[in-house]
Amino acid sequence: MPPEIEAQMNAKYGLDDPLHIQYFDYLKDVAQWDFGPSLKLTGQSVNDIINRSFEYSLLLGLESIFLALAFGILLGVIAALRHNSGVDYTAMVIAVLGISVPNFILAAVLQYFFAMKLQLLPVAGFDSFAHTLLPAIALATTPMAFIARLMRSSMLDVLSSDYIKTAKAKGLNERVVTYRHALRNAIMPVVSYLGPLVVAILTGSFVIEEIFNIPGLGAEFVNSVTNRDYTVIMGTTVFFSALLLVSILLVDLLYTLIDPRIKFGKEGGKS
């Protein structure tokens, strides 16, 4: 590389500034939500990459979270209501399997049966709703199993508590007692798990995105690492961290909606 061009490059990217100046420049840009250009993909900025790919990850993530919550809570509640019965044991066997089978193995198994053998769903790609099903299921299974176990144990706790007895003593039937009295009190541990779960699903999707050939942010992140595309690595990492902070904040806000004992500000603390 001719020295003139190198000098020009250094000037353009600010590489001849001292390190701490470079660092503060980067921070300033990040604060304005500008992650700079990609070092490998010419003409694309990190923001472009995130904007382009995040919607896929978001869609896939939300679908998985929805599946995980819906089936996890259902399974946990049923297991708790029919404690120590066949239903309970079946639900917990499913949960243990869900936790122990890694999602990339499940993904391959799903692809083999539903796409290749039964020809019901597309193997890969991300063009229609049918395309989203297999990756979403593969991604949702482990968190679903976790949620089922969390829900079961906290539901068992709540069902043996005094206020459930009070509710039953009022003559309410089992369904009303479960919905109105038990569920809301039992769901707290699941809500706590929701914050880290959102991020785990959004970031953890890169294996699944690779397997199903989905152009999501996870796939871009993996690519940037193999390409040594430093600005993209930095950008996506900062983006994921911001996401984690936001989702944990949302979970904290959600607490106050569910449990009236948790309040912000000076009002709290009195009993």
Binding site: D162, T166, K168, L172, N173, I258, P260
Partner: protein, 344 residues
Amino acid sequence: MKKVLEVKDLNVFFDTYKAEVQAVRGVSFDVHEKETLAIVGESGSGKSVTSQSIMKLIPMPPGKFAGGSIKFNGEELLDKSEKQMEDIRGKEISMIFQDPMTSLNPTMTVGKQIAESLIKHQNMSKSQARKRGLELLELVGIPNPDARIDQYPHEYSGGMRQRAMIAIALACNPKLLIADEPTTALDVTIQAQILDLMRDLQDKVNTSIILITHDLGVVANAAHRVAVMYGGKIVETGTVDEIFYNPTHPYTWGLLGSMPDLDRDGEEELQAIPGTPPDLSDPPKGCPFAARCPYAMKVCENHMPDYFELSDTQKSACWLLDERSPKVEPPESAKVGGSKRDEE
């Protein structure tokens, strides 16, 4: 007086991994209209199981009814389906639990918790139920009910929560109120208030009360009749006066003796009943109290005595009352503030 509740030869067992626990063994008692029956006994004597059996709130399995009968207003409760029981619970029979800190749902306003049974049993609309809820809170002595009704249980003090529980229990004017140690978790001044409140309300709404407690002070204060339970059986029953001034069962003597008395000489030590209650998964053949009874005879170990009728109201299951037994005087410690006859 009319009988509201008739319990006959009730047996309630629990299946556990180790063995079958015979928590309640042949308990019989009646509750009359507007009467307060106190069931006293130590932990594990079967008081709470008996009371929850009346509501059929025993989890089944592991619990099961092994015979007997519970008649409420002449109707057999043990034959009723779960659906029929739902119409009785909260409407005809209500219950107050021991710990007001945990017996209210923390995520629901007190008003809604009161309204629930009104909406269920009296077909009230939400606004009617709220109005009645305000009346009930007023009735149980909660100040400023307009503001309090929309508050959550954690914004109430312990005594207020128990008042709210009473409001819930009395919402539908039940014929029978079962209070399972309603004052145990409260401090003494609040205890007295809650007992006064229950007595007041009993006159106002004409309800009968089963008061479960291990506090004889509470019994003296609030009950008309007393049933003393031990080892899953009722060992002695009688009016309050009979139980306090003419107790005949050594376990009753022990209970009375272990009650602190301010008038008593300071030198005197508080009496305890030595030993521990029997293991109900392998209940003793004879009298359950025989192993701890200072007056136990040979016959006590192998044969459960029948009830000896001492008056129309007092019955006691103790071999000491048999004419063949030696005469035993109750110990000094079992005498309550001297004899009542002296005062009169």
